[in-house]
Symmetry: D3
Subunit: 61 residues, 6 copies
């Protein structure tokens, strides 16, 4: 039942997301000792004008 | 002050969302004993290429 | 696959949570047209000194 | 390392978001006694047909 | 209606949280042009053995 | 800057969490092509009386 939320910038390809969910599910099942079928992953893409670090939008950095 | 976040796939109509927030608010107020006015609901639609189960994007399943 | 997160203050009984998840799952399945088995609900209790409204912690209001 | 997530309606300008992240980072660093460099802020815009209060979508209110 | 979630390590005093919510609400209302009454802030404390950076739990760093 | 949130039941050891964050950071960096230093992971443990599936608290299932 582990559920993972990923926040990252847009720009990755579907191939990258596919590899990410495959590999993260694999190591999650191994390290947390749960069936891969129980792992959910949700990906959220946060634009660079909606993410700030140190008080600056990344779009401005 | 109960706040609910819903994550689901895109594709529901505004009529379905309208019924969902009306009915969920009603049963939340009843079961948690709070005024309906205090219930907030936020809906987030997660595309099928951004949600994975068992290591596979739903878009690929 | 709809997933709901509830944030509320502590203090509800297990009976209230049990009724909440039963009723919310029922109306979610009805209004969004999905099997009840696909509905997940996660409850998070936020203490009154960790929730603020209008700039005041609820513990101080 | 404080991380802030803001949920609000769409419609603010980039200038408003820029001022928001600058000012919130400043007061966060001051009140929580941490370096501004450690503060992350993520902004999420929730459409009016995806946010409900008192059982009504804001788009319908 | 802006809602803010803060994630940080435990260890701040109630005085610090009180100052944080007062000041963040103030600058949020100013920069986003909304009434302070509409601002909600939820604080979540994440223990050092539950937050990792660069593949290491902060408790181990 | 990828940030991951994990929700799971309590009961894993610190050794399991340590292995989880190490391995997930590694595959995240590989598949998303980002430095491991930029990966944050936050773990949240959700008790069995606060997680429901199919309308039933897991504590009751």
């Amino acid at each position: 039942m582990p559920t993972l939320h990923l926040e990252m910038h847009p720009g990755r390809t579907v191939q990258q997301k596919r590899a990410f969910v495959r590999e993260v599910t694999k190591v999650t099942a191994e390290t947390l000792a749960c069936p891969p079928e129980s792992v959910d992953i949700l990906i959220s893409e946060v634009p660079r004008d909606a993410w700030a670090k140190a008080g600056k939008l990344l779009a401005d950095a």
